[in-house]
């Protein structure tokens, strides 16, 4: 499979941190996502399963990452993701792109309700169950392009 030129990042590859948050072991989707991101030309820092929120932020700081993609499949994402944006801001990552995706809360709820909970927490995008990798790649391309057009938000 050839990388899709429309989804190709700029010449310096952007760095994306991926992982499954909290006490969650569902690694398969996250691993496939990470493989697809690499294939699309991104530099991927894959933290794997069972990753506490502060480890995402630490890895993002250390690698000067452009985005963090958080997976949660086991229903406790609501508890695990609270304060994630604040952790990023404390670490000086004010403008970092934050996506979250998976089966995010316990039970079957309308997606707009779930999405609102996570957007209110400061995530830029929330991916519904069954979301395809291609859509995430499109989102990243759009959001990175928008950021290049707009001046970066400055810290403090």
């Amino acid at each position: 499979m050839m990388p899709d030129p429309e989804r190709m990042p700029a010449t310096t590859p952007r760095t994306i941190v991926t992982g499954v948050i909290g006490s969650d072991t569902h690694i398969v989707g996250n691993r496939i996502l990470s493989m697809a991101l690499e294939k699309a030309g991104y530099k991927v820092v894959a933290l794997g399963a069972l990753t506490p929120a502060p480890e995402f932020v630490k890895a993002a700081v250390e690698t000067n990452a452009d985005a963090i993609l958080v997976s949660s499949l086991y229903g406790q994402g609501e508890l695990d993701c609270r304060g994630f944006r604040e952790l990023c801001i404390e670490a000086g990552l004010d403008a970092i792109l934050l996506y979250v995706g998976g089966n995010l809360i316990v039970g079957k709820h309308p997606w707009d309700v779930v999405e609102r909970i996570f957007l209110d927490m400061g995530f830029d995008r929330a991916a519904a169950p069954g979301m395809r990798v291609e859509t995430v790649l499109d989102w990243l391309a759009q959001d990175f392009a928008a950021r290049e057009r707009a001046p970066r938000r400055q810290a403090g």
């Binding site: 006490s23 072991t25 690694i27 989707g29 691993r31 794997g48 406790q76 508890l79 316990v106 079957k108």
Partner: protein, 501 residues
């Protein structure tokens, strides 16, 4: 590759039964880790089990199901507060007609983060809905566990997806739970990242030794192995290899009632063959090692991979899952519901899944595949995959299952696909073939004979050609999401268009 000892008195790793005095010391230290540990009174627990009617004791129920050729139903289920959990168990018992009632623990409890679980309980109670994905049994303690058992008229099993079962197991058994799902190799490979296989084995040696202690006092508990592993296209041979090894570890501690679980491949013949091969291979290895008094059962699980979001498609997986288990002659089936694609089901949806499955089992009750040559060929193929690997693991441990398993995992001889654990190589890669069976695309370093792998490759190449997918990792990835795709994608109602003229 072994981790540093956590206590000075730690015994060297082996399959040997933990001696009485060492076990007593381990129990004291374990029970002191959280306040509810002090509620565990072994003699009272034994009396409690003995006072329960036989039909609430899973050890007896599994033996009886096997003797009568029944396929029992059992869902999963756990909520974050006692009130919600009690209601759930009653709904599953009364409305779902579950033969076995579960209690799934939340993921904080699974990782022994009892402080976090406590916070989850408080928030769940405050918000009136469960923020935890299961029941924090350790935080609630023995008396509450006993109250749950008293509220149902079925045997109860703990489903804990953990490599750290020691406190959960103590509390649950003391409360009257008579089954516990979990094992050292399978769960460590599937539910942890950093815990070594050795530590996982040690933790389950404790639980098995505890179950054996109940056995010695006249209470036969049912221990069970989660051979479904990572739930992602696990071919039968991979499940059975870990199953046989975990079983031998449990039996070495004194367990006498042990169940093997496998996720359904969704191919009727392969699933039936898997159940037959699993049963016979367990008996074969038990006999080889001189165990004559061990009861084993086999359970199939509804599809463990990604589910379709469409209710109708999901309903087919639920019903067919019952059919597969019944035709395969499984002793029980673990059910899911049409909510599976979205996460944890409501009690009602869960109960519906149970009854759908139950009806399917009833419809298939008289059907067996024994007259079918393909069935016997598949049983034979699975055995030719399992024996070389299990034998190599035992050889690597100089006959000791615990040592062999740790060394074999480090070497990749024992391997599990899609594992989150850094202690597994996860080089073995499965994919679905043209006929719908799960095959091995890449064995990694598992010593599966070449002539067996050639069978797999031939079947997988046929699919790759038909679907014009590269023969390689793309085929494996395509197989991961296949069952969750919409019908329009996997089985269209459109005819291929012919060129005009």
């Amino acid at each position: 590759m072994t981790s540093p000892p956590t206590v000075e008195t730690r015994l060297p790793l082996s399959e040997a039964r933990i001696p009485d005095d060492a076990f007593a010391r381990m129990r004291r230290a374990n029970l002191a880790r959280w306040p509810t540990g002090a509620e565990v009174d072994f003699d009272a627990a034994v009396a409690r089990h003995q006072a329960m009617p036989l039909h609430k004791r899973l050890g007896w129920v599994m033996r009886e199901a096997a003797a009568q050729g029944r396929c029992l139903t059992q869902p999963r289920g756990g909520f974050g507060t006692f009130a919600l959990q009690k209601e759930l168990m009653q709904v599953l018992d009364k409305e779902g007609l579950a033969d076995i009632v579960p209690t799934t623990t939340d993921s904080y409890t699974r990782n022994e983060q009892f402080q976090l679980a406590q916070k989850g309980i408080e928030e769940s109670e405050r918000m009136g809905r469960s923020l935890l994905n299961g029941y924090p049994i350790v935080n609630y303690g023995v008396a509450k566990a006993a109250e749950l058992i008293d509220s149902i008229d079925k045997p109860a099993i703990m489903l804990t997806g953990t490599s750290m079962p020691k406190l959960t197991g103590e509390i649950a058994f003391a409360g009257g739970y008579s089954g516990y799902l979990g094992s050292g190799i399978a769960y460590t490979a599937s539910y942890t990242k950093d815990l070594s296989i050795e530590d996982g084995i040690r933790n389950y040696q404790y639980l098995d030794r505890l179950a054996a202690m109940y056995q010695a006092h006249g209470v036969e508990l049912h221990r069970r192995q989660p051979g479904f592993l990572t739930g992602t296209n696990i071919p039968p041979c991979v499940a059975i290899i870990t199953g046989v090894l975990d079983m031998l570890l449990a039996v070495a501690q004194g367990v006498r009632n042990y169940g093997l679980e496998m996720g359904e491949t969704l191919h009727l013949v392969q699933d039936a063959a898997a159940v037959r091969a699993c049963r016979e291979l367990c008996e074969e290895y038990l006999a080889k090692r001189g165990h004559v008094d061990v009861f084993t059962s086999v359970t199939l699980l509804h599809w463990m991979g990604a589910w379709p979001q469409d209710d109708a498609q999901a309903a087919a997986l639920v019903a067919y899952g019952g059919t597969l288990a019944a035709v395969a002659g499984a002793n029980s089936v673990t059910t899911k519901s049409t909510h599976e694609a979205f996460g944890i089901p409501t009690p009602k949806a869960n109960a519906d899944g149970l009854r759908t499955t139950r009806m399917a089992i009833y419809l298939a009750r008289g059907v067996r595949l024994d007259s079918m040559p393909d069935f016997h060929a598949e049983v034979d193929l699975i055995k030719r995959e399992v024996r070389p690997v299990v034998d190599k693991v035992l050889e690597m441990g100089d006959g000791d299952v615990a040592l062999g398993s740790v060394r074999a995992a480090a070497a990749g001889v024992l391997d599990v696909p899609w594992s989150p654990s850094r202690w597994m190589r996860s080089a073995v890669m499965p994919a679905r073939d043209a006929e719908g069976c799960l095959r091995i695309l890449d064995p990694g370093r598992m010593p599966i004979p070449r002539e067996v792998l050639e069978v797999h490759e031939e079947k997988l190449r046929r699919r790759a050609e038909r679907e014009r997918v590269d023969y390689g990792p793309d085929l494996a990835v395509a197989s991961v999401y296949e069952m969750s795709e919409s019908l329009g994608t996997i089985f269209t109602d459109r005819w291929a268009e012919r060129p005009a003229g």
